[in-house]
């Protein structure tokens, strides 16, 4: 195998795939990236694959391929080398089987020799993609992910919450594609009109790591993403790069019943002011709970934190509210996470009481809903 490729194109392709590779691996080949060089009429193309056995990212780049072939080499090392090469350099990658098999990487006066493992040992995810295929605008997919992924659980016991639940549903005669995430304390929901062809696809729980990778890949490029969803796998095709992932085998809970419908104590407040004020007073919250107490009265919100060791903090904010006084506590981080996703200047918080779920709405985006469970303070 031998090919020459422009440093920028190589860096971009390796950058796309190398994040999948775990830093510590018990299976040596999973630390490697698979390089496959093919010659074609237009010159040549190299594909780069990395996997952690649960997901696989493949990216392709154009190259001058003089000898087609395949080999695997350490992904992080290769990426670091390429990153440090001078901008605009041509990089030659060469591998020849022999007594001392190495991948040689050379550019200008730099030469590297990297250990390799045979391409035949590299695990490839089967590409038999049955399932529903549809196209979705990158910006739409970004929105679904950004508005919800912060609420994905990291706790292992309820593994079916360790991902984003993506599903289609028909409501009031319209079809929606909806993403939901919850960690049991809060819930985030974002939806959009279902893209053409999306209906009928299985509801899938996409693992957190897959979501993170997909989100990174979404930043490069514009236009549409091709999605294929089956009950066992999901595949995203972003231009040259594709991401294929297993999905979490489990059923997502019936989240609809924890979204409060009748909360009638409505507070409207400037989202930025609320977020900053919560951030300030929570400076002295206990590390673990980060609790902040809200006292909500007509026209005025008082945020307070009382910490026996660290002292106390109080801040007031102007609000729109004309209901009975309410004392309620929240985890400061949960409030700030939600405020970070509010598109409008103001945000609407709908309360029931101090121990029931609170609904948070974005006045400029009626396709998102957030539910926050209070802290008992």
């Amino acid at each position: 195998m031998q090919f020459t490729i422009e440093r920028g194109a190589l860096l971009k392709a390796l950058g796309h795939v190398q994040n999948v590779v775990e830093r510590r691996n018990t299976i040596p080949i999973l630390s490697n990236v698979l390089l496959s060089a093919d010659r074609s009429a237009s010159g040549g193309q190299v594909s780069f694959s990395a996997t952690d056995l649960d997901m696989e990212i493949v990216d392709t780049a154009e190259a001058i391929v003089s000898v087609p072939g395949q080999i695997t080499a350490p992904a992080h090392t290769l990426y670091e080398i390429v990153r440090k090469l001078p901008d605009g350099a041509d990089v030659e990658l060469k591998f020849a089987a022999g007594d001392d098999p190495r991948l040689s990487v050379s550019a200008g006066r730099s030469r590297f020799a990297l250990p390799v493992l045979p391409a035949g040992d590299f695990p490839i995810m089967s590409s038999d993609h049955e399932g529903v295929s549809y196209q979705i605008l990158r910006d739409d997919l970004k929105r679904l992910i950004d508005k919800t992924r912060f609420a994905v659980s990291t706790e292992e016991t309820r593994y079916y919450l360790n991902g984003l639940f993506l599903h289609c549903l028909a409501e009031d005669g319209s079809n929606y594609l909806r993403a939901v995430a919850t960690d049991g304390h809060r819930l985030a929901l974002a939806e959009m009109p279902a893209p053409e062809g999306a209906m009928g696809g299985a509801g899938v729980i996409i693992p957190r790591k897959t979501i993170d990778q997909a989100r990174r890949l979404l930043d490069d490029g514009t236009g549409y993403v091709d999605m294929t969803v089956s009950p066992a796998k999901i595949r995203f095709q972003f231009g040259n790069a594709s991401l294929t992932s297993k999905i979490i085998d489990g059923s997502f809970p019936d989240y609809g019943r924890v979204i409060p419908k009748g909360n009638d104590k409505v507070m409207t407040v400037d989202a930025g002011i609320l977020s900053k004020a919560v951030d300030r007073v929570s400076t002295i919250s206990a590390e673990k709970s980060r609790s902040v107490k809200m006292t909500i009265e007509p026209g005025r919100l008082t945020l307070s934190v009382r910490n026996i060791e660290a002292g106390q903090a109080v801040e007031e904010a102007e609000i729109d509210y004309d209901n009975e006084t309410l004392d309620i506590g929240f985890n400061a981080r949960y409030i700030m996470d939600v405020m970070g996703q509010i598109g409008g200047d103001t945000v609407e918080l709908r309360f029931s009481d101090a121990s029931s779920p609170t609904l948070v709405l974005d006045p400029v985006d009626n396709g998102v809903q957030y539910v926050l469970m209070p802290l008992r303070v």
Partner: protein, 363 residues
């Protein structure tokens, strides 16, 4: 019996008991409920009254009564949802007042505590004066009334607080103690429930004096270890200390059947209020327990216990109910009649005073 105990200085004990606590808090915060029969607790068919206002008590409504019965006794009864957060906050306020007088405060629940004021922080000589001051300060701070009992031991102080309820004070002076205990009907004694009272009546014991006239042997023969306690209190003697650091190891409730039973459904129906009582305590005090124990005493006084422990605490009443039922199912069929059933939750973990609890979505 007291002769072998070391000579003790006369103590000054106050028992403070908030009047119809949960219900009074609700009436305080919702003026439209004042003067009306109010029950705190589930108004649902299976619910139980957690507390009743004095207006409701006139109709015979009392705590732990099934909501259905309460509604029948008092058709105008207003059910309100409990707000334990508020009750706890008030409880903290009154606890702060107690602490101004003495560090020796032993809370029995959110609304009740023993105080040993023999030595007190204000250097006041009169326990009665302290009790009055505390009652006044409770009113000032919370707009709620409390009753106080003052005496020289816990048993009599608790009896005393009940004498002039609500919003009253009663003192049992040392000279009065034995007389007072002797005159009391047995069912008024703390720790003597309806079934034990009935048994005492069958033995011809109706008052404290009747108990006092029995030998220790007689009482122990009929009431086991409790006999010794009855022997003491019938003489107005109770050496239990006020223990401020008393840490609960378990939460339990038990009750004796009027007639022994061998029927599963009867036994199960009997457990329901016990589970309810335990769970109310759990909720009101923010305690979580991992071990559920069922205690069964048979007609021959043989006692067996069956328990299950989880890695995580019991989180809900239905969960607790399920465990208790499974334990009871394991006991049946029984060869002897069941005389007493008890439910206990242990392996407790209490939340620290200033710790907060993140509530969960019911997913």
């Amino acid at each position: 019996m007291d002769s072998d105990l070391p000579e003790m200085r006369q103590r000054k004990i106050i028992h403070i008991d908030m009047d119809a606590f949960f219900a009074s808090v609700e009436q305080r915060d919702h003026p439209e409920l004042r003067g009306k029969p109010v029950a705190v607790g589930g108004g649902s068919e299976r619910g139980v009254v957690a507390a009743a206002s004095y207006e409701a008590r006139k109709y015979g409504v009392h705590s732990a009564m099934p909501s259905v019965t309460a509604k029948r006794k008092c058709p105008d009864l207003i059910f309100v949802r409990h707000r334990f957060d508020v009750y706890k906050q008030v409880s903290r306020q009154i606890r702060d007042i107690f602490e101004d007088y003495t560090p020796l405060v032993e809370p029995l629940s959110l609304d009740e505590a023993y105080l040993d004021v023999t030595e007190n922080r204000k250097g006041m000589a009169s326990a009665t004066e302290i009790a009055e001051e505390i009652r006044a300060r409770i009113w000032e701070t919370t707009q709620l009334t409390a009753s106080a009992g003052v005496s020289y031991n816990k048993f009599l102080a608790k009896l005393a607080s009940d004498q002039n309820k609500p919003n009253g004070l009663f003192v049992i002076k040392p000279a009065m103690g034995p007389v007072f205990a002797a005159s009391l009907p047995v069912k008024k004694f703390h720790g003597i429930g309806p079934a034990t009272a009935a048994k005492m009546n069958r033995l011809g014991l109706y008052t404290g004096e009747d108990i006092r006239n029995q030998t220790l042997d007689f009482l122990e023969q009929h009431f086991g270890v409790s006999g010794r306690y009855y022997y003491g209190i019938s003489r107005g003697i109770d050496h239990r200390q006020v223990r401020p650091d008393r840490e609960r190891k378990s939460i339990g409730a038990e009750n004796t059947f009027f007639t022994d039973t061998t029927d599963f459904d009867t036994a199960w129906g009997f457990l329901d209020p016990l589970i309810d009582k335990v769970w109310r305590y759990v909720e009101a005090n923010d305690i979580k327990g991992r071990t559920v124990t069922l205690k069964v005493k048979f007609s021959d006084f043989r006692i067996i216990t069956r328990s299950r422990s989880g890695l995580v605490p019991v989180m809900s009443k239905p969960e607790l109910t399920g465990y208790v039922r499974a334990l009871l199912e394991g006991v049946f069929p029984v060869s002897k009649g069941i005389r007493l059933l008890g439910v206990t939750l242990s392996s407790l973990g209490e939340r620290a005073e200033n710790e907060t609890e993140q509530l969960s979505l019911s997913l």
